[in-house]
């Protein structure tokens, strides 16, 4: 049973990751094989496990979940101790606002993920693989479970993978609605049956991970690249992209004010201008105001940045990030105040609450921006937003604090005057009291008497 989601994709050059989109026959082992699948796994099973890791290293593959950490290097951190139980946990929690590419991969090509995961397990010596999928992805989870059942039936999983003697169990583990479970240690806590509250690092998961054992955590798209790297060679992968540190085909999830939102597979490092073109440009013939290149955690970029290359290093140098490659586009009518406020609300809602700066800081950001949105903040309070953001970043227990700081602060820094003007307009329309005019606490705020 294929997905009911409408297919909204685009490809430049060859469709590698997206080659089975719209091809429901690929949902079975037999169909996937017929379309060229599981050859890479056979090849990997015949290799020395360490060689698999070296191949992935050589390809320059970097994590596609948000952090961009070199994948091969991460695998090599797993201790070689053969007696120890090891795990692969697939991070299918995909909750970064604007991101939907993993969902597309799982809905249309579950075996690509199964194959890449199996190859990782072989490389590091993991005998159990948990696919932690966000609870909201019910259909994708069902599709994965059916594919896994078929894989067991056809000997791709279980006691003797493809006759190699290698044992691998795989199971889908559904989350229950928490963005913080996309953070690798928050995910591990949730997998272990607890609140998804990130852990202190070190120790790192490669050494102490799921259930105290060495664990690799990789994003869905990252693992989907692995079969292709093994089959076609790391040089092929490296040849695609910007340079040897930004390699391979990349999925970009484009949303917002564009004609054709969707999942686009292009060589990594495409410029935003080119990508926007692929999407049919800004919708309704409007002008571009701003875009966020990598999910709600990425600092916003302006129209003047439109020719920037969307790869890890170029964006990092420009003070933002590729992150999950979720590109959100805003046209000239977009209210940057509302975007900032909605992002602040998101981070406040998703903060796990453990650490002081994130718990109190994200709440304060939402409160300040709500006051501004209702036209009853002072200009000093508007200017306080990036200051508070800077107090959160760098001090929190995990990266959510940094994400909140980066997602909200730069919007205020780059659109300050526009936001202040918008706030004054709202004030002129009359300040809002009642249930809408409060922060998280749920109490109405008094009107601010000193002028805006």
């Amino acid at each position: 049973m294929a997905t009911t989601s409408p297919i909204k994709i685009g490809v430049v050059g060859e469709a590698v990751l997206l080659r089975n989109v719209g091809k429901p026959e690929a949902l079975t082992v037999d169909g996937y094989r017929q379309r060229g699948g599981y050859k890479a796994l056979e090849k990997a099973l015949a290799m020395d496990p360490a060689a698999i890791t070296e191949t992935v290293k050589a390809s320059g593959l970097r994590g596609r979940g948000g952090a961009g950490f070199p994948t091969g290097m991460k695998w090599s951190f797993v201790p070689k101790d053969p007696g120890k139980q090891k795990y692969l946990v697939v991070n299918a929690d995909e909750s970064e606002p604007g991101t939907f590419k993993d969902r597309v991969l799982m809905e249309h090509d579950p075996h690509q993920l199964i194959e890449g995961s199996a190859m990782c397990c072989r490389a590091v010596g993991a005998s159990v693989c948990y696919i932690y999928i966000r609870g909201e992805y019910v259909e994708a989870g069902d599709i994965l479970e059916r594919a896994i059942a078929d894989a067991y039936a056809k000997g791709v999983l279980g006691k003797d993978v493809l006759g190699s003697g290698f044992q691998l169990d795989m199971v889908v583990h559904r989350g229950a609605g928490a963005y913080i479970c996309g953070e690798e240690t928050g995910l591990l806590e949730s997998l272990e049956g607890k609140r998804g509250q990130p852990r202190v690092k070190p120790p790192f998961p490669a050494v102490v991970g799921a259930f105290g054992m060495p664990t690799v955590i990789n994003n869905v798209e990252t693992l989907c690249c692995v079969p292709h790297i093994l089959e076609r060679g790391p040089e092929w992968f490296k040849a695609i992209g910007t340079d040897e540190r930004n390699t391979g085909p990349k999925l970009y999830a484009v949303s917002g004010h564009v004609e054709k939102p969707g999942t686009y597979e292009v060589p990594i490092g495409i410029t935003f201008h080119e990508l926007l073109d692929l999407c049919g440009g800004v919708w309704k013939g409007r002008a571009l105001k701003a875009f966020i290149p990598g999910g709600a955690s990425a600092p916003v970029l302006l129209e003047k940045d439109r020719h920037i290359k969307l790869d890890f290093d170029t964006l990092a140098k420009a003070g933002t990030m590729l992150g999950s490659a979720a590109v959100m586009v805003m046209d000239e009518t977009a209210s940057m105040l509302q975007v900032a406020k909605r992002s602040a609300k998101f981070f406040n809602h998703e903060s796990c609450g453990q650490c002081t700066p994130c718990r109190e800081g994200t709440n304060w950001l939402e409160v300040l921006l709500t006051h501004a949105s209702h036209g009853e903040a002072t200009v000093q309070e508007v200017d306080l937003v990036p200051i508070v953001a800077k107090q959160i970043g760098g001090n929190s227990l995990c990266a959510l604090g940094d994400a909140a700081a980066m997602g909200v602060g730069p919007i205020l820094e780059k659109f300050r005057d526009e936001i202040v003007a918008e706030m004054k307009e709202a004030a002129a329309r009359g300040p809002v009291h009642g249930p809408a005019a409060h922060g998280v606490a749920g109490r109405p705020t008094l009107p601010v008497l000193h002028g805006v």
């Binding site: 928490a178 609140r195 202190v200 406040n348 809602h349 998703e350 903060s351 796990c352 609450g353 453990q354 650490c355 002081t356 700066p357 718990r359 109190e360 800081g361 994200t362 709440n363 304060w364 409160v367 306080l384 107090q391 760098g394 001090n395 929190s396 227990l397 409060h438 922060g439 998280v440 606490a441 749920g442 109490r443 705020t445 008094l446």
Partner: protein, 537 residues
């Protein structure tokens, strides 16, 4: 052992020591809330952020360990101070301005760190402060009250009930800015150690039902003492205002009670105020119980002991006797040649206090049966034990000396009082004016344990010394003084008059105490050299 440099000072520590502990070694106190040496490290509060050379971001001191030589740490850089200021600001955005009505004031980490590391002004709106409606004064159980608005979500209490008490009544609920601590609906926080969460709560979110609004902590005189609720011998800080004890808090002793004590123990001082005190010596003259002077009382006591009336002379003590008091009683009994000396002790609930060596569990409902028996208050051959003494032994007594007017329920129970009253002469020494005392021919008022010094030997054969917290009331005297005076009348060669002198005399003559000296009993106590006396240990 690796050496770490903190603020230009070097210190050698065990590998694996975290920076908060290491810094104490050079006299630097890194501020922190969520860290506690007995709870898992969570690194949540972010108050302990410090600069570690070579690491770009500030590191949490609690979760950063010294593993090898060469680590260089600074706790005083502008970045560290800014982080501390920022954490304080964040905590005070929502924390209510409750200091004027909050128990914690004066012993509040939030106050202290705010003063030292925080800001003098607020940039947040007062009316935006988060409120947990209906959770401002929630009894979590019989011993602890929660004000969730004050909570700083450090989760010490949650980790305590899970890891130390092992009862898991508290959970960390909800998420983010709405996160709160609480029980499962309808269930209570009620275990033997419940009130410990009040001790470890850095702010006034958790308060003790017993101590709520009782006293401002800066009015309290704080003295080290021991709990007398059972034979665990937990070390406490006795906190009083002019002789009125307001609170016991556990005092750290890694060999006995670690950082903890039980709820019951915390209540035991209340007895001193609940029961009427004996303030002056009294004697029954012409059917009336009249006050007499100490001189007359001691003379009368001496005279009755000397006087060879019919029947045996018997001494009944309790587990509340100090070792020194017991020794003097035994010496008097020896001098009179009577085998009848015994210590009555009730059975305690098995209060268990965790520590790093498996913990301690109570058996006796009093602190010093062991010390008293080792010092000589166990019956000699042919002597009655406490049970028989209480049952019917008094009938054969010419003189029965009860050295504790509140030794247990018997002192209040008419039947037991009647049985003990069958002694021809009943002398009662004690602090409480119980029915037993009121039935006695002669009563001598003595100090409570808060008003004297002495030693107890706990259930783990540990000798601990405690000191006087405040002077006694009325004309009550320390029992050691009274007994020494009486013994000197019986035996003019007797010298030791203070608890210390008595202890050293005992250590020289009783094998169980050989090698110990009063002056050199360490602050955390000392294991008994060899507790091999014919006592149930």
């Amino acid at each position: 052992m690796p050496i770490v440099t903190i603020d230009d000072r070097q210190v050698e520590v065990d590998a694996g020591t975290n920076l908060i502990e290491a810094a104490l070694g050079v006299g630097v106190q890194i501020p922190h809330y969520c860290y506690h040496p007995r709870l898992t490290v969570v690194g949540q509060c972010r108050m302990c952020l410090v600069k570690v050379e070579g690491m770009p971001k500030l590191q949490a001191g609690c979760s950063t360990q010294v593993v090898k030589d060469g680590m260089v740490v600074r706790t005083d850089t502008p970045d560290v101070k800014e982080a501390q200021r920022a954490m304080m600001e964040f905590l005070l955005v929502n924390h209510p301005l409750d200091c004027p009505i909050c128990d914690q004031a004066g012993e509040c980490a939030l106050q202290d760190y705010s003063f030292k590391h925080g800001m003098a002004t607020s940039r947040a709106r007062f009316e935006d402060k988060r409120v947990y409606s209906g959770r401002e004064r929630i009894p979590l159980g019989p011993s602890v009250v929660l004000n969730m608005n004050r909570c700083i979500q450090c989760t010490r209490c949650v980790r305590f009930t899970a890891e130390v008490a092992g009862t898991g009544e508290l959970g960390f609920l909800q998420r983010g800015a709405r996160a709160e601590i609480g029980t499962f609906p309808g269930r209570e926080l009620d275990n033997d150690l419940s009130t410990c969460v009040v001790d470890i709560c850095p702010v006034g979110a958790l308060t003790s039902t017993r101590f709520r609004f009782a006293e401002r902590v800066w009015n309290l005189d704080k003295k080290p003492s021991l709990c007398t609720g059972c034979d665990n011998g937990c070390n406490v800080t006795l906190e009083h205002r002019r002789g009125d004890i307001k609170r016991y808090k556990p005092r750290y002793n890694p060999d006995v009670n670690d950082y903890w004590m039980c709820d019951y123990g915390r209540s035991t001082f209340e007895r001193y105020a609940e029961l009427p005190r004996m303030l002056v010596p009294r004697q029954i003259k012409e059917g009336q119980r009249v006050p007499v002077s100490w001189d007359e009382a001691v003379d009368s006591f001496h005279h009755r002991l000397r006087g060879r009336t019919e029947g045996a002379t018997m001494f009944l003590g309790s587990g509340f006797l100090t070792t020194e008091e017991a020794y003097l009683l035994a010496k008097i009994a020896d001098h009179l040649g009577t085998p009848h000396r015994a210590v009555w002790v009730g059975e305690s609930k098995p209060f268990h206090i965790p520590n790093t060596h498996g913990g301690i569990t109570a058996r006796d409902a009093a602190p010093n049966r062991r010390g008293a028996e080792l010092a000589g208050m166990a019956p000699r051959e042919g002597g009655l034990d406490a049970a028989r003494l209480l049952a019917n032994g008094a009938g054969d007594a010419g003189v029965l000396v009860v050295a504790d007017s509140d030794f247990g329920p018997g002192a209040h129970d008419p039947e037991t009082v009647a049985r003990l009253r069958r002694a021809r002469v009943l002398v009662v020494l004690g602090w409480a004016d119980t029915p037993l005392a009121q039935a006695a021919d002669l009563t001598l008022p003595v100090a409570t344990h808060a008003e004297k010094e002495g030693t107890f030997v706990n259930g783990q054969q540990r000798l601990q010394r405690f000191r006087r917290a405040f002077p006694s009331t009325g004309e009550a005297l320390p029992l050691v003084e009274v007994l020494a005076t009486v013994l000197k009348k019986l035996d003019p060669s007797w010298q030791p008059a203070t608890a210390g002198e008595v202890f050293d005399h005992m250590a020289a003559s009783v094998p169980a105490f050989h090698g110990l000296t009063w002056k050199h009993v360490p602050p955390t106590g000392v294991p008994m050299p060899e507790a091999r006396a014919a006592v149930v240990g």
